[in-house]
Amino acid sequence: MTNPQASKPKAEAPGPKEDIAEAIAPATRLKLFRSQLEIRYLEKRAYDLFLQNLVKGTSHLALGQEAVAAGFGVAMRSDDYTFCTYRGHAHTLVRGVSMAGILGELMGRDCGLTRGKGGSMHLTSVEHGVMGSYAIVGAHLPIAAGAAWSARYRGTEQVAVCFFGDGATNIGAFHEALNLAAVWKLPVVFVCENNLYMEYTSIETVTAVAHPAADRASAYGLEPVLIDGNDVEAVYRIALQALAKARRGEGPSLIEAQTYRHGGHSRADPAKYRPRKEVDAWLARDPIPSYRQRLLALGFSESSLAEIEQEAQRAVDQATEQAKASPVPPTDIAGRDVWASGGSEWRN
């Protein structure tokens, strides 16, 4: 079942013309390239550290899905808000958060973003606008709407960008948030990364429509927007449009970005439920090599790209060493910060 209206990428309510039609500036293109590489290398490192038993608990990698976070990260204003899921290392990194803070958190070290109190699924860095990673599917959509309401009330022109998976489109909070955000015309951008699977179940087998987000848009008076989530420039352009629309006071957008995770749902998952042909087809559409080729075709030099690759790798290596060198957090923080007073006392 396909919905012809939704399957056609649709650019609605374009922002300033130059955002859409004009070529993306060379420096911006390199940023998009670098950002994707940093995510790729960081996620690979997270996986290696897991194999070395240095990353405990669970972790959900965005390998293969880098273009979505990178495209938005480059397009967002530094004071915009990000709300993401447990699969949120990428969305956190693209806001300028330190790699050591991320790896340290995964490793349960004191240098971690939340000193080991949140863990891999709850990366947060408020100073970078990363307002949390949420591990209950769909919960953060209404929360992002609230941040958007607050931004409008305070007149700051900040936008809240909320990333979630295809699976989240079937939970009530998705629908509650979309409706309320549309009725209140909130400056929020909802970004569904459709990687075709929830955990181990294919989204199409449990969803009444072909495009889990785009086909729901019209129910909330929104334009269906379906994009190639493995094309970082497509993501970047749609991000600019949606952000500009939100800042103009024209309300929310719902974007479905089609993509694919290269690995399993989480560290424990070998992803045997996915047909080999499907995996191969998507590996051939890996967002990073294809963008590299595009940049070369556009005239960027091999050496400039190689240099970015080396720098990104070095940054990950350095962050790894930093995180490994960090001590574990002191146990006394386990009882801190339940309350704003800093403590956890519940009685006198």
Binding site: K117, G146, S150
Partner: protein, 325 residues
């Protein structure tokens, strides 16, 4: 001193805080144009306008999610959940998101928000519109829990809740909405975590909350006049933080403890109070601790059935007499 109903005190308390602080916003179902299904928020829309007083769709998760997102980015929202039973619909927001995110982010975010809700029985609404669920909230680290028993406390504790930097669940007992009481003139701000001794006695301490405070007081009067038993009545007012010092000092003095709870028996707040007293005051007790609660069953709707299961003045009187032998 003016006399207000508990219902009027809600609007007065919200208005006091909205007047004072432009960051205070208010949202919920039917709260703006209609003034609330219990008429607790009449006039607020007219006074503060639609940017600050907002009707929402029937979307409890969105109401609390929006309140949370607004609180963590600089506003001080008051969100209404029409009936406390409906907290079950959005418990993820309460128990997983609002309560835990400060901790999980190592204190990076603050959640200065208030969730007001109509709690408890007395209207023959049956099992899904009559529960006293304050003990649900008490069981979740990261939530403050308040339940006023008088109009003055509605204003004073609501003000304290709005000004508190942490999330507060504010349980308004719906059977009290029509009750009247004196409220102080001018701005009134109370303090969370302070119980009140409503009646001082020598023989037994009754610890009560919300609508049970008036029943405990009435029981105390009857015990005095009919049996010469002198009872202290402690109104907890706040479950978290819990004013254990007031409880302990009253029980130490009287040697006996009876809790009076509208909630069903298992894991009701009285169990926590009883356990604290048993651990810390065992050798000062002259009799076993007694808990008066509703039974561990859903609430029935018919007048006589609902009355039968709730802690009545008679039941309280009986149980107190038993502890005194």
């Amino acid at each position: 001193m003016a006399e207000l109903t508990y219902r009027e005190a809600v609007a007065a308390g919200i208005a006091q805080e909205m007047q004072r602080d432009p960051r205070v916003v208010f949202l919920g179902e039917d709260v703006a144009s209609a003034g609330g299904v219990f008429k607790t928020t009449e006039g607020l829309l007219q006074k503060f306008g639609p940017d600050r007083v907002r009707d929402t769709p029937i979307s409890e998760q969105a109401i609390l999610g929006v309140a949370m997102g607004a609180a963590m980015t600089g506003l001080r929202p008051i969100a209404e959940i029409m009936f406390s039973d409906f907290l079950a619909v959005c418990w993820d927001m309460v128990a997983n998101q609002i309560a835990k995110t400060r901790y999980m982010t190592n204190g990076q975010c603050s959640f200065p928000l208030v969730i007001r809700t109509a709690n408890g029985a007395g209207f023959r609404f049956g099992a899904q519109h009559s529960q006293s669920v304050e003990s649900w909230a008490m069981a979740v680290p990261g939530l403050k829990v308040v339940a006023p028993s008088t109009p003055a406390d509605v204003i004073g504790l609501l003000a304290a809740a709005v000004r508190d930097p942490d999330p507060v669940l504010f349980f308004e007992q719906k059977s009290l909405y029509a009750t009247k009481g004196e409220v102080p003139d001018g701005e009134h701000v109370d303090e969370l975590g302070k119980a009140k001794v409503r009646r001082a006695g020598e023989d037994v301490t009754l610890v009560a909350l919300g609508a049970m405070v008036a029943r405990a007081l009435e029981a105390a009067e009857r015990l005095q006049s009919e049996n010469g038993i002198s009872a202290t009545v402690v109104d907890l007012r706040t479950l978290v933080p819990l004013d254990t010092q007031t409880i302990l000092s009253e029980v130490k003095r009287t040697g006996r403890l009876v809790t009076v709870e509208e909630n069903p028996r298992l894991c009701g707040w009285g169990a926590e109070v009883a356990s604290i007293v048993a651990e810390e005051l065992f050798y000062d007790l002259d009799a076993p601790i007694v808990r008066v609660t509703t039974p561990h069953a859903p609430l029935p709707a018919a007048d006589n059935l609902e009355d039968f299961v709730l802690p009545s003045v008679e039941k309280i009187v009986d149980r107190v007499r038993m502890t005194l032998g």
